[in-house]
Every structure is written in structure tokens, then in C-alpha cells.
Symmetry: D2
Subunit: 148 residues, 4 copies
């Protein structure tokens, strides 16, 4: 199976600058929090998206979706849970759940699909490094699952 | 039929601050351009979203989706085409196509679904004003279509 | 004299995404509007900042200042008036006044100072093209002033 | 003396969405990091800006200044050091130094000046709570200084 069963967690506090005049976080900013989720997922297994780029592998966004459940408010801490899976040969999919850290309420759910490309936007098969990376993510997820 | 057949157009230039280090517009900013699209749609029929809010009707976002086709770059002018339809009793749906103004390339397509609520987030049926507004939009669209 | 006496004007509407939960535009977004001001100033004399970059001349920001007079609110149209001057051999200074289009109230005043650099951040004297450009700006300003 | 001698520290990682096509953090985003600095300063002494607002005390920005020394890049961790002082009867001033966490390079320095107002923007003297809060900040700073 390709999908991770255990999500990784990151946290981010809602800035004043993230809110809008409805008094809640502006809807586009959830996509920034999605970015934090997938970035920290890479870091967790000892790599970074920055290093991937240095090796010539870019992951531009192909699709993004968000379903807004409950508003995030100024100064709330958002917990970002991220899982990933392959979505075809050259595509990666990340799934996100955003939770209110203090009361556990689901704030939003969504996903992004990314294509592997070189610097000029030409589609590539994911490089061996990326496949290896994803394997490590799965193993880490599995070993975390078995600890329970 | 509930859906508009003729989209409304708005334009926005890509700022330096909209781009990211991949040299293209950051993916979250497309949702800002979607906002411009639906805002100008309201204005076009002689109303504004601001006035709706002053009358106690809010339209928080329930869902957002974007499919990225071609990158938008710094200083490009983006043409935003917006259509709308009802998506259930208390829900409005806006569909967007973002085009590169100069060469006509489709940059992105997407939609947002909104709920009608009062100031405290309680779901409301769309007020008569909103229904009237949407009727005017459809009529304007129809008359534009017939001019062709 | 190096300073322009006639400002150039650009306009931008305040998005929902520009506001914060105080119900007014978030303070960092004024710097985005400053960017619009200087960008349109270049375009006005038949050049663009994009073209400057293509010729290897970059203008990273060295200093930015803003004094906030009156809040900008959702859906307001902001008029951005921009003037420029040299601020030393390799430095350009832009001064901005942001006005509420409908009632003329001054919303903010500020400036940015920029350094001329090559692609790698090495400081350069402004290229001949830039000096020529600035001369054109001054002439345009002068001829506009004399029309009054 | 009114000024704090020991700064408070907060950290924030640079997102892809914070960068621009020059490959570095966009200049307006430094003002977001300033916000993080002053927010965490309040929290450090057991209060929050959110609570201040709930008590009817708002601190809109009156002035903001930033001097950019070195570019912040994608995935860098920024250390935000914040000090504060009174700047007149109803004004607060925060001073910020942004450092590159790993190599200690100064990225930017700046300040913001804020006015105390009620919900409707009417200028107020800082409430007793705020003065008490600032006293606690000074004491904490002093005791930290004496530990050295």
C-alpha cells in the first residue's frame, strides 16, 4: 500500500495578518498552512524540500482543495496533520487535516497534488532520492503505528 | 436553469509579492484572485458584497478548489472569468477561469462554495436581496449572450 | 533637481484578504501597494521593472517606512501617488502617498529606498538605461506640471 | 528608564509563500515577523494581545520602519528579537532585530509605533493593565540581565 497510515504533525499560530475583517483566518491562508505540513513532513525523515530543489527536483502544485469546517481565529494554534501517497507515476499527493490545538476541533481538511519537474517545468519521474524518501516516511509511520 | 452562461471578467496584474522563489505566482494567491472575480461579479450588477454584509448577510467559504494549468509570472495580467450558480438552498457556487490576458492561455480553473450566514455564523437561507441579485446577474448574462 | 514634482497615480481596491480582524487593511499590505506604485511609475514611461531585471539590473529594497494616517477598509479604492529621486550613487528612493479615492483622505505616507544590484546581489551603479528612464520620468513630470 | 535592555526571542521559518521571484523573502513579510515578535513578547509575561483586545484596548500601528541588511531565504529560520518602550503618553514602540538563526547574520532591523485606542479608534491612555504588563516585562528583563 502506498498511503501512510500515521500523519505527521506541525503547529502554527494564527497571526493578526492571517485574519480578515470577518474576524477569522482568510481562506487562502489555509494553503500556506498546507505548505508547512508537507515541508515538515520532509524534514521529519531527514530531508528537506530545499535539498530536493538543489538536486534539480521541483514539486509545483497541480491541484489544491480545501473544505472549511470551523473558523480559525487570531492567536489560535493550528495543528497540521499531513499524510502522503503517490497519485500516479510523476505525482505526489498530500492530505491535510487542520485541527484547533486546544479543543481538537477540525478546522479544515484538504489535499494538494504535485508534479515532479525539472527546473524548466519539464515533467520527470520522481528521482530515486524521492522514492527512497517516501519509503522512509512509510517505515517511520509503520513503526510509529506499531508502538501504539 | 440556474447557471450563468456568460462569465464576468476582471483583471489583476501579478505583483512581485505574489510570486515565489520558483519564479511563478504562489499557489495560495490564486484564491485571492478568485475573490476579485466574485467581488467584481457582484459590483457588475449594481451591488457589492460589502453592502450584503451591512444587511447582515455573510458568505464564508465552505469549499475551495483550484487546478493549476500554467504558471502565472511577475507582471502578467490575469483575466478572471467568473460564473455562479446555486449549490443547494443556502449555498452559492462560483466557478473561475484564470487566463493570461496577452496570450489567452488558461492559467487555472477552480471554484468556491459559500454558505449564507448571519453575523454569528448561523446558516441562513439566502435573503431576498441575494436572490434578486442573482436573477439580475442571469438576466444580464442572457442579454449579453443574445447580443452576440 | 533630481526630484519629480508630479506624482504618478495607480489604483487598487482593498480585498477581503487584505483586511484583518480589526476590520481594516493589515499594515504589511501597504508595502504591497507601494510596490504597485513604483511598478506603474516605470510602466508609465514606457519601461517595466521586469525588463530591467531581464537586462541584469535588480532593485532590492534597502529601507521601507510607512506612517499610517487613516485606516483603509474592505472594498475601498486606494489611490497610490508615487514620486522618485536618486538617494546616492547606486540608490533610488520612491515616495508614496496613499489616498482614499472617494473622499480624498490621506491613508498613509511612506518611502522605500532601493539599491541597484546584479543578479548575485553585487551593488552596481545604476545602468545608463535606468538613468535615461529617470530622465524621461522627470521630463514627463515637468511637461505635466507646465500644462497646469 | 523606560526601555527594556533584554530582548525576547521568537522564531519563524521562511515559507515558500514568503519568498518572491528574486529568491528571497518579500519585503512586506518582515512586518508579519515583527508582529510575531511583539505578540510573543506579550505572551512571555503571561498576557496576550488577544486579551488586551477583549478588555477593549487596541494597538493599531501608527508607524513602521524596516532596514533590510541581508536576504532571508526559503526554509531559513529567523530569530526575532523584540524590545519595547513607551513613545509618549498613548504610544508604544517595539524595536526588532531579525537574525539568521544558524549563522547569526543580521537580516533586518526595524520598529513599529502603536497607539492605544478603543474599539472605535478613539485614542486612549494605556490602561492600567498595559502599564502593569510593561512593568512586568521590564522586571523580567532586569532579572534576566542580572543573571549574566
Amino acid at each position: 500500500m502506498n498511503e501512510m497510515t500515521e500523519p505527521f504533525r506541525a503547529e502554527q499560530r494564527v497571526l493578526y495578518g492571517d485574519t480578515d475583517s470577518m474576524g477569522v483566518a482568510y481562506y487562502a491562508n489555509y494553503l500556506r498552512w498546507f505548505e508547512i505540513g508537507r515541508t515538515e513532513l520532509f524534514r521529519r525523515v531527514g530531508s528537506t524540500y530545499r535539498r530536493l530543489e538543489e538536486q534539480g527536483c521541483f514539486l509545483p502544485v497541480y491541484e489544491a482543495y480545501c473544505r472549511y469546517h470551523n473558523p480559525a481565529r487570531y492567536d489560535d494554534i493550528i495543528r497540521i496533520e499531513t499524510t502522503f501517497s503517490f497519485a500516479g507515476k510523476a505525482r505526489l499527493r498530500f492530505d491535510y487535516v487542520l485541527l484547533h490545538k486546544d479543543n481538537g476541533a477540525v478546522l479544515a481538511e484538504g489535499y494538494t497534488v504535485h508534479v515532479c519537474t525539472d527546473k524548466d517545468g519539464k515533467v520527470l519521474k520522481p528521482p530515486v532520492e524521492l522514492k527512497q524518501l517516501l519509503k522512509e516516511m512509510e517505515e517511520m509511520a509503520r513503526s510509529e503505528g506499531s508502538k501504539k
